[in-house]
Assembly symmetry: C3
Homo-oligomer: 335 residues x 3
């Protein structure tokens, strides 16, 4: 089957990523087009969203298309994803029908489906979006599952806008405190894209328990080798920040405690000082700061950092619109 | 009042139904148009939906129009439908105002309002959509109440695509098990359209308790007489399936037990073998299988049936888009 | 900062209001345009809506634009509005980011945010929409907070359609009973616009406790002086109604009982006779009746009044569409 999806940037070559970013930059300069004229995209939100929904809906409109926003389990019924099941539970419909019917209606299907946060060995299989990709007969786009490739592109574009070529830049992905154990998707994604772009990447986190899933660590090392960068783990705030060109912050739950979050809470609570503040930013090479948003101010980063010229989080958020238009236009053009 | 609504196919002549199906087939070949250019349709969902909402919203877009999706009681307030009431309960607004104001905003009003499942003598009056039709000054479309005329047209189109002329085909509407007592709307509708198209229709159900409301049985017999077909009740699986050209499955609650569903449960539970499977389909005249969806796999029909070439449920679902565009275009053109 | 918002009609001169009403009347005669071609508006509903959402969404469509409907706290996360806070509560994002990111995506931001009904000294600060206006870099529109300026314009247009020039008309804003203590927004707004249009305004309410916030009473007196009208308080039904040209009804909670609604309940309950009925309307100068809707029939006004030719509430509701298009077109044109 030759149908191309946008599930992870790992399925895309460096040249393909660069082409998407160039198209996104072109859309940023000139927002309207007819690339989706008369076309439609279904946006399936198994988890809520504001930026993702707004930017996809608007992106479709800018290119002459139309987005349909669906929230299965809220304004539609729950869906069964396992094959061969006797469907006597809550689910009223099987993904086989959902994906095939939607494929008859729309030209693209975008899916947001977070982990269930009970068993990482289950969640890491990314079953929901894979089932859509398996059964759909139109391209499927990842709007955040266990990675967040649209955020990766938006982040990459914001960095290129600041730095031009990114090869050899020191990039720090820092864990930060958050009252809840969050999804690792953006952290996984930051590793993938930063190594793909040839940066020297430091994963800064409180303890080895916060290192990311080996799949993404392996991809990161592979990408670093291929693109002339590096991937290092650090638990030392000062070492990590010193000389950094980019500080990207994200909170996430430690995988060894997955589903036993009460046990992880004391560790998280003991590392509130991982907050991104002016003192830490002063150690960098006049570095930029970014975050995928939403961000709790004065928990993950201080007001001073957020409101400083070094903060490019708003640019990154804006870029979601432009990169997603590039992704939709690219997927549509193959058909 | 000369305003034409689309509340039930019984209000439409055979020639009018055929014209709608021809227009739908034309839209299937050539999806875009300007029939709704600058026009709008309000989609009121008193009950949730995925296919209906997607297909109507997309249909409006394809024809240059715009759909507004409203969910009274969820993202709007509850509505009073009874005339003359002192409104001191939950409802904040009367249908008289809702329908008249909406009629000032939009060009079409589509309504989904399922039975309340407490008292069939109340539910069978179809008060909600009738109140809209009474107070609205624009055409009203039934998106499923106690019948589902849009599904009828989609079903009819899928059958015509397979068979061409349908006169004299053996059509079986079979009850199937479902863990909940469902709406009879699609079953009522299947009777109406199958008899209108001149087929020899068998209503297959576990016991006489599952025979449909006499209004629809009477319409079915009337239609059969007018169009050269027949309507028969059967409780014998083998007789019903043998030689069938079409098997259409649906679960529904038995009307004599309406509102006392616990009493009906043992009867339903005793008829799980009504599931549509390969052995039953082997009795047919190489017949096709369909269902309105959503369908619980391995409860109503087996995976083998659903995944067989005989299954036209996905085609039927797709046709919702095309027939609804035909209905909207037809209703708009009268104005 | 020269960015113009539409937060309250008090920020607009009489000439500017007249110009908006003329543009609205032009849109009523000729609904389509390209004033928002390729543009977008975010509609943020902190409180639900039917008319407001439909009329704004449709208005954007009519003018070539697109509305994005967002419900923070429902299909998006809760938002923090206070500056400098350590965000360790429910809110996942600060208004600073929400407003700035939305401003990158859309061309207009419209906000509905009702009072919290606990402490009027807090609610009267109108913090939510002011925070949007502060942080957004695109124009912000009030879709009802503690005033409802879009309703004002719709109301004014409906009155002008009946009367032409409104100067010197007797205008009665009458409190009516409602089982719940409602927002004062429409009452405040009625005072503002009726005095701005030079009418002789009577605020009719059961007791001095139901007089509106002094800010709006002061604005009303100021407007009356500027535009040649008057503002009077009355607790006498017959005096107020006698000779009235316009009766505008609204229920609201008494500010001295704000947040202690159980204490107010007996007073409200004792004034159910404030219902607008035919006997009261017979005292008027063949006056018109209106209401912002939703209206509980036979609680706020009788069926006879609602269904009489004197009732212009449906016209006023329709006019929401036209005036909001005028507001959006005006705000966009400044950019």
């Amino acid at each position: 089957m030759s149908l191309r999806h946008f599930l992870t940037t790992q399925d895309y070559s460096r040249a393909e990523i660069d082409a998407l970013l160039e198209q996104a930059a072109a859309f940023k300069r000139s927002p309207r087009g007819q690339q989706l004229a008369g076309k439609s995209v279904a946006l399936l939100f198994f988890n809520p969203s504001m930026r993702t929904r707004t930017s996809f809906e608007l992106g479709a409109f800018h290119l002459g298309g139309h987005a349909i926003v669906l929230s299965p389990g809220k304004d539609a019924w729950p869906i069964e994803f396992r094959p061969g099941v006797v469907m006597d539970g809550e689910a009223e419909e099987h993904i086989a029908e959902v994906a095939r019917v939607l494929s008859r209606y729309v030209d693209l299907i975008a899916v947001r489906a977070f982990p269930k946060f009970r068993d990482w060995s289950v969640d890491r299989e990314d079953a929901v979006i894979k089932a859509f990709a398996q059964h759909a007969t139109v391209p499927v786009i990842n709007m955040e599952t266990i990675t967040h490739p649209c955020q990766e592109l938006a982040h990459a574009l914001a960095l290129k806008e600041r730095f031009g070529d990114l090869a050899g830049r020191k990039y720090v992905l820092t864990w930060t405190y958050h009252p809840k154990p969050l999804n690792t998707a953006v952290a996984n994604s930051a590793l993938l894209i930063a190594t793909k772009l040839g940066m020297d990447v430091t994963l800064l986190c409180p303890t080895p328990d916060y290192v990311l899933d080996e799949r993404y660590m392996d991809y990161g090392e592979h990408n670093a080798r291929e693109n002339g960068g590096s991937l290092t783990i650090s638990h030392n705030l000062e070492e990590a920040y010193r000389g950094a060109d980019v500080v990207y912050a994200k909170s996430w739950g430690a995988l060894p405690f997955f589903g036993r979050w009460e046990d992880e809470k004391p560790i998280r609570d003991a590392h509130k000082h991982f907050i991104v503040d002016e003192a830490k930013m002063a150690l960098t090479n006049n570095g930029v700061f970014s975050h995928c948003l939403p961000l709790r101010r004065n928990i993950k980063a201080t007001d001073a950092v957020m409101d400083s010229p070094a903060c490019i989080a708003i640019d990154e958020a804006e870029n979601r619109l432009h990169v997603q238009k590039a992704v939709m236009a690219s997927l549509i053009s193959q058909r």
